[in-house]
């Protein structure tokens, strides 16, 4: 069974760079699976592998792509601030602007829009979490409609962020950023679904 799962995983590219296990390791793996997960869990494992192996294409201008991109900007901004010396930080700033094919002034705007959007999302995340905690404390299951509403607000904030970016940077800068986000950046994002251990 474990061998079967192993092969399934390889078929789907899930273990793309993993080396083959020795027969002993495989037997040990089978033993552990049987001991702790029993047959039902193994079926669940198979389902999990199949689910995670499924990779769906992300459409252009998907709000989640902007979320990832804004997060990347925030990480870069932190590194610019943390760089040793002003010249090192300025070098990273220039390099990032060049990498995204935008002017340094547009790159600065991108940083501000990213921080602002992510700040709003962080506040929303706390609000959503507080709501769920409140419901659970009251012995209630969170209302699916309200959870969906939180998600919609999250997506709306992301769309606002993208729109704000478009309005704030130069037309040339927006053209370069939109092209980068939808082509080079989006092409290297993969989404997967969660697994339940049963």
């Amino acid at each position: 069974m474990y061998y079967y799962l192993h092969l399934v995983a390889r078929e789907f590219g899930f273990l793309e760079d993993a080396r083959a296990e020795s027969p002993l390791e495989v037997l040990m793996g089978m033993y552990r699976c049987r001991l702790f997960l029993v047959i039902a869990a193994l079926v669940g494992c198979a389902g999990a592998f199949a689910q995670q192996a499924g990779i769906a294409a992300i459409p252009p201008d998907d709000p989640e792509v902007y979320f990832g991109f804004f997060s990347l900007q925030q990480a870069i901004q932190k590194d610019i601030s943390a760089a040793k010396g002003a010249s090192a930080g300025a070098a990273l700033e220039r390099a990032a602007a060049r990498h995204f094919n935008v002017s340094e002034s547009d790159f600065a705007i991108l940083g501000r829009v990213s921080n602002s959007t992510l700040g709003g999302l962080s506040t929303l995340a706390h609000e959503a979490k507080a709501y769920v905690a409140q419901e659970r404390a009251a012995g209630q299951t969170p209302d699916p409609g309200k959870l969906a509403a939180f998600r919609e607000r999250r997506l709306a904030l992301l769309r606002e962020g993208a729109g704000g970016l478009r309005r704030s940077v130069s037309p040339a800068g927006w053209g370069a950023l939109q092209s980068y986000i939808n082509d080079r950046y989006r092409s290297h994002i993969v989404r997967t679904e969660p697994t339940h251990a049963n």
């Binding site: 390791e25 962080s122 969170p142 679904e193």
Partner: protein, 428 residues
């Protein structure tokens, strides 16, 4: 530990954790609905590496969770730096994994920065693992298993140097006189340009390139001057001649990322070699000869010195050879000649002697033996000799000494012809 084994262990651990926590959670508080817990998606991003500056590349992986209950998921990202040298297939991790995490609702990032000069040219990319753990109180049993991806690669080359690799030491001359009229010239300097890798911003006025010359253990015989503030171009100048035929090894670096060594040869006039003769007769009276000696100018390192201005000098008076029949001073001390060597480094040195007995030549000069009737062999007995210096860099005879002499040869006069003999030749 193999990645598969680690993954199986993680599944096992999570399953145990989920079972225990789910049991506890069901007793204590309600969980988020199972349908809601599954309504999340994990995003795994591996953006392009960024060339931070000439000598550094920086890359990130990202993980985040979106969906109805994203606030209950803690994302993780694990990053390894992978490197593949040029001409090889595959690649290897050159760092251990570094793990980043973020609060629920945030984005986990993990990355690395590498020093290109230390690692060298090749392709760099981020190999990343992505996973997320659910708050087991809220979503017992749910997890995202770790998935691994190769990020896009960035191929890096070292900066390179271009420019003429040969320069000539011609004494005090910055260039040979022929450079005034001919674009094919010999200079005592060469302009070198530093070409950065296409992704490299290159040197700037604030962060100029640095250059270095080494001389293979010899005393320095060249130096360089910046042509611009950023140091993207320099002028390498020969300041003397090398004592051995060894190139100057030139390297340049931008922000610490160095070029491969680039050889510049400092060469200088070595000697002349006789490659062709043609002896013509002057019937007279008085009779004599015009001998055409084709000489080839060879550099110290064995290269032909083409299209360069040269002239001859005879600083000493000729002397009679021991077997001479009486020639004492037949070579004139004026009308020394100058030339521009041809594409093969050659020029024709004419030796004309018309010297009757009345002018001190006893016996008198004759037309070349093979041109006499009946023909006879050329005379084997040299009458006189003088050291002939070929000065390279100018055709000017006045002032003397422009600019650098090849090793002298021996110009010999015979009864019926003249020859530019090697410097090692001696007359008897």
């Amino acid at each position: 530990m193999p990645i598969e084994t680690r993954r199986v262990r993680r599944i096992v651990v999570r399953a145990l954790l989920a079972c225990s926590q789910a049991s506890l959670a069901l007793l204590v508080c309600p969980v988020v609905g199972r349908g809601q817990c599954s309504d999340v998606v994990m995003y795994s991003g591996r953006p392009d590496p960024i060339r931070v500056d000439s000598n550094h590349v920086y890359a990130y992986g990202e993980t985040w969770v979106s969906g109805d209950v994203y606030g209950y998921w803690t994302p993780y990202d694990e990053a390894w730096q992978y490197f593949m040298p040029p001409g090889q297939d595959g690649g290897n991790a050159i760092t251990g994994g570094t793990v980043g995490s973020a609060d629920p609702g945030g984005t986990a990032t993990a990355g690395w920065t590498t020093n290109l000069n230390e690692q060298g040219p090749g392709t760099y990319w981020d190999y990343s693992g992505h996973w997320a753990d659910a708050d087991q109180d809220a979503c017992p049993g749910w997890y995202f298993d770790e998935v691994y991806y190769n990020g896009p690669g960035l191929t890096i080359s070292r900066p390179t140097i271009t420019g003429e690799q040969g320069i000539w030491y011609l004494g005090t001359a910055p260039y040979n006189d022929n450079c005034l009229t001919d674009h094919v010239c010999y200079y005592n300097s060469t302009e070198l340009m530093l070409i950065p890798d296409p992704g490299d911003p290159g040197p700037t006025d604030e962060s100029p390139a640095s250059w270095d010359l080494t001389f293979g253990g010899l005393s320095p015989f060249a130096e360089y001057l910046y042509d611009n503030v950023a140091g993207s171009e320099v002028n390498v100048i020969a300041t003397s001649y090398p004592s051995a035929c060894i190139p100057v090894s030139v390297t340049a670096s931008i922000g610490g990322f160095a070029t491969a060594p680039y050889s510049v040869w400092v060469d200088y006039p070595g000697h002349t070699a006789l490659v062709l003769t043609n002896d013509l007769g002057v019937v007279g009276p008085p009779a004599g000869y015009i001998s055409q000696n084709t000489l080839q100018l060879i550099s110290f390192c064995g290269e032909t010195m083409f299209t360069v201005a040269v002239h001859e000098q005879f600083p000493a008076s000729p002397v009679a050879c021991s077997g001479s029949k009486g020639w004492t001073d037949p070579i004139p001390q004026a009308d020394w000649a100058g030339w521009i060597t041809n594409g093969e480094g050659e020029f024709v040195d004419g030796i004309a002697v018309v010297c009757p007995a009345a002018l001190g030549c006893n016996p008198a000069s004759t037309i070349p033996g093979p041109r006499q009737n009946p023909p006879v062999a050329l005379s084997a007995q040299a009458e006189a000799r003088v050291a002939q210096f070929i000065y390279v860099g100018s055709q000017n005879i006045v002032p003397l000494g422009e600019y650098f002499p090849a090793a002298p040869n021996e110009q010999a006069t015979y009864l019926d012809h003249g020859r530019d003999q090697p410097g090692t030749w001696t007359c008897q």
